[in-house]
């Protein structure tokens, strides 16, 4: 039975609804009837649905090429990218923000390799550092942009760090603090403050915008000549370097209590839409309410998104450089794959596709930035099968991974085929140590770092690298761009990638060959040379999704 024009019109309508997921049950029954009875309708249906798959294929191919061409330095492309992804990216950013911040409120940050310094309990006047115990925590640094610290020599908290009471100041940038009782404070540098307790702070210099929910009513800010006590509000305060202050109430009400230079008590209640000026002598004068003076949470989120896009853009450039570097043996950036793709593309030019991996079981997921791909390993059989047979006397292994959990089985990153000289495995063991194990013929030698993963690192992207120098007999481990351990090799002379699996164990001693990593990988590379700390630090800094390093630490962003 051939289809009439009217039949084709009806089928077209039904199939349009089907592919756009707007088909009703009645229409679905109608379509089913067509498909059951008419061979022509079935052929029409199959060709139509298959065209959707082909369109997806050409769309990714064509738009990917357009983006690559435009990426030749054009800011328009970045703008287009940001514009088209903005709504999704904003949501993802918010999701990431919640993901990163909520579970870590009672944990210290610890993104630097060495253990955090212990604080004493009576350290109100000591420089503020990341909190070390739950008892001392007064706030969490939930977001930061471009912070430059007053004291570059000290260790400083990162986004996600829990904070003790004490001084907190920076010369440039923005920071969002969430106090444990619920108030949120956004600070714009230069700023000098002291965190007093979980619902109070002192502002000596700089700009503060506070949002105080009902549960945190009573949040107070000490000023040079008095104190602002919140009565359930959004308000902003700016203190200049001579000690005068302006207080703006955007919503709700605050109470000001202070004394002037002659010792007279100064009190005022300021409501939404009103502002006051307090000079350096403590004298109060009403002010007109300005607009747009203080950055709010939305501004900070918007700037964070811009930063994320800039970082993604910088990483893309570096990624292309790594792909074309002739020292790169294997390089997966996990980007630009279809969500159903079962091939992990090797980006290097030298392998001409022979380095592509076969994805078994894993799901494609979100990587370090909104819009970047990653592979998630969750089921025991999840893995990527490699088809590279190189044996290397010198090598550097690099990966960005995010572990969801770390149990007694540890987490495999890459394991080659076992039971021959040069077989190797790279993993995180159950103690959180980065381990390279190499079969040197008669025995499997293990080279372990110090403990790199504590619970606070779970759920966060971490950069791992290990360099292997079989000629000079050294092995070094790096975490987040910093050398973490260095050890003399014993017998191992080379490592072989033969029949490697990413994210899954093989039958090495003390490993269950039926288990996979529980987490995600969004970049993986093997270089056939030994990279030093400076090289690896660059990979980390350009690839870092967060403002984890300050300009004082950075070798790339001074």
């Amino acid at each position: 039975m051939s289809l009439s024009d009217q039949d084709i019109i009806e089928l077209n309508e039904l199939l349009d609804r089907l592919v756009e997921n707007s088909i009703t049950l009645e229409q679905k029954k109608r379509l089913e009837l067509w498909l059951e009875k008419s061979d022509e309708a079935r052929r029409f249906y199959v060709s139509y649905i298959d065209m959707s798959v082909s369109l997806g294929h050409y769309a990714d191919e064509t738009l990917g090429e357009i983006e690559k061409e435009e990426n030749g330095g054009s800011l328009n492309n970045l703008f287009h990218f940001v514009q088209s992804w903005m709504p999704l990216a904003a949501l993802l950013l918010f999701g990431l923000y919640l993901y990163y911040t909520l579970p870590t409120q009672v944990l210290d940050e610890g993104t630097e390799p060495e253990p955090l310094a212990q604080n004493s309990s009576s350290q109100t006047q000591l420089p503020l550092q990341a909190a070390t115990t739950e008892h001392e925590i007064v706030a969490v640094l939930t977001k930061s942009i471009g912070l430059q610290w007053d004291d570059p020599s000290s260790r400083h908290p990162n986004a996600g760090s829990a904070l003790n009471s004490g001084r907190f100041g920076f010369s440039k940038g923005m920071a969002q603090l969430e106090f444990m009782q619920g108030a949120t404070a956004i600070l714009e540098g230069p700023v000098k403050t002291t965190l007093v307790h979980d619902n109070a702070m002192e502002l000596k210099l700089g700009k503060l915008r506070a949002h105080v929910p009902r549960v945190a009513v009573g949040f107070s800010v000490d000023l040079p000549m008095g104190k602002v006590i919140d009565l359930g509000t959004d308000f902003g305060i700016e203190v200049d370097d001579e000690g005068s202050a302006e207080v703006y109430v955007f919503r709700g009400k605050i109470s000001y209590q202070g004394i002037d230079i002659e010792g007279n008590e100064v009190r005022a209640e300021v409501s939404g839409g009103e502002a006051i000026y307090l000079d350096s002598f403590g004298v109060l004068t009403p002010l007109d309410m300005p607009l747009g003076t203080f950055a709010g949470s939305a501004d900070l989120a918007s700037r964070s998104l811009e930063n994320a896009q800039k970082r993604l853009s910088a990483w893309s450039v570096m990624s292309q450089e790594l792909a074309s570097d002739n020292k790169t043996l294997l390089y997966y950036n996990f980007d630009g794959h279809d969500s159903w793709s079962r091939v992990l593309k090797d980006e290097t030019k030298r392998n001409k596709g022979s380095g592509d991996g076969a994805v078994i079981g894993c799901q494609w997921s979100e990587g370090r930035w909104p819009g970047k791909g990653a592979l998630q390993f969750s089921k025991n059989n999840d893995r990527v099968c490699l088809n590279i047979n190189e044996s290397l006397q010198k090598a550097t292994l690099v990966a960005w991974i995010k572990l969801d959990s770390l149990n007694r089985e540890g987490a495999p990153i890459v394991f080659s085929k076992p039971h021959f000289n040069g077989a190797f495995g790279w993993s995180i063991n159950s103690f959180g140590k980065l381990v390279l194990e190499v079969d040197s013929g008669n025995t499997v030698e293990k080279y372990e770092s110090a403990v790199a993963f504590s619970p606070d690192r779970l759920g966060r992207w971490v950069h791992l690298a290990t360099s292997f120098d079989g000629e000079n007999k050294w092995i070094s481990h790096f975490i987040n761009g910093r050398a973490f351990s260095r050890e003399k090799l014993s017998l191992a002379e080379s490592i072989s990638l033969k029949k490697g699996l990413i994210g899954h164990y093989q039958a090495f001693p003390n490993h269950n060959p039926n288990l996979s990593m529980k987490g995600s990988i969004d970049e993986f590379a093997i270089f056939d040379s030994v990279w030093d700390e400076t090289d690896i630090r660059k990979l980390y800094e350009v690839g870092c999704p967060r403002d984890d390093f300050t300009s004082q630490d950075s070798i790339l962003f001074p």
């Binding site: 139509y48 798959v53 050409y58 091939v343 099968c385």
Partner: protein
């Protein structure tokens, strides 16, 4: 024995790479919901890996893989029983048969589509490519092309029809 196993692993990797797009096409024809089809492709890949020792080298891998995919779709029918886009078993059977019969033609149609896309005007081409880019939907296409969502739906219906007709014509002209 060891060498033979290695060769089999390499063969599996190559076959999976070669046929993954077609296999996905087969699955989505039976389960025309992209998300569900992706899930079934995952499960199918895993089973192919586990049962690869049953596969005889040199025989039709795609046909063998489609059989596994078909089992997975049938099993998933129970899971998706309430879904409005899953067909009854009789219909699944006949669609699967038709799909297998059309494989050669579908390859030709896939190539012809690239020519037909070039024949579209710039605005329509952009609209349809944005719509079908991974993770995008009609709303994204509407935004990218400055149309209302309703307008984008209508435009996409028209473009798909144009492309389908164009591909059919190209394929029929190439046929002997």
């Amino acid at each position: 024995m060891t060498i033979s196993q290695d060769d089999r692993s390499a063969e599996l990797v190559q076959l999976m790479m070669k046929y993954q797009r077609k296999l996905f096409g087969y699955i989505i024809t039976l389960v025309p919901s992209r998300a569900d089809a992706e899930d079934i492709l995952q499960e199918t890949s895993l089973t192919i890996c586990e049962k690869f020792t049953d596969y005889e080298s040199g025989t039709n891998f795609y046909s063998w893989a489609c059989q596994i995919a078909f089992w997975k779709v049938r099993a998933a029918r129970k899971k998706f029983a309430t879904s409005k886009v899953i067909f009854n078993e009789d219909v699944l059977e006949v669609i699967s048969q038709t799909r297998v019969e059309m494989e050669e033609e579908l390859d030709e149609r896939h190539h012809a589509l690239s020519h037909c896309l070039k024949k579209l005007n710039e605005r329509d081409r952009r609209m349809v490519l944005v719509r079908y880019e991974s993770g995008h939907n009609v709303k994204a296409a509407a935004q990218a092309c400055g149309r209302t969502i309703q307008g984008a739906y209508k435009a996409l219906n028209r473009i798909r029809k144009t492309l389908h007709d164009c591909v059919s014509l190209e394929v029929s002209m190439e046929s002997p």
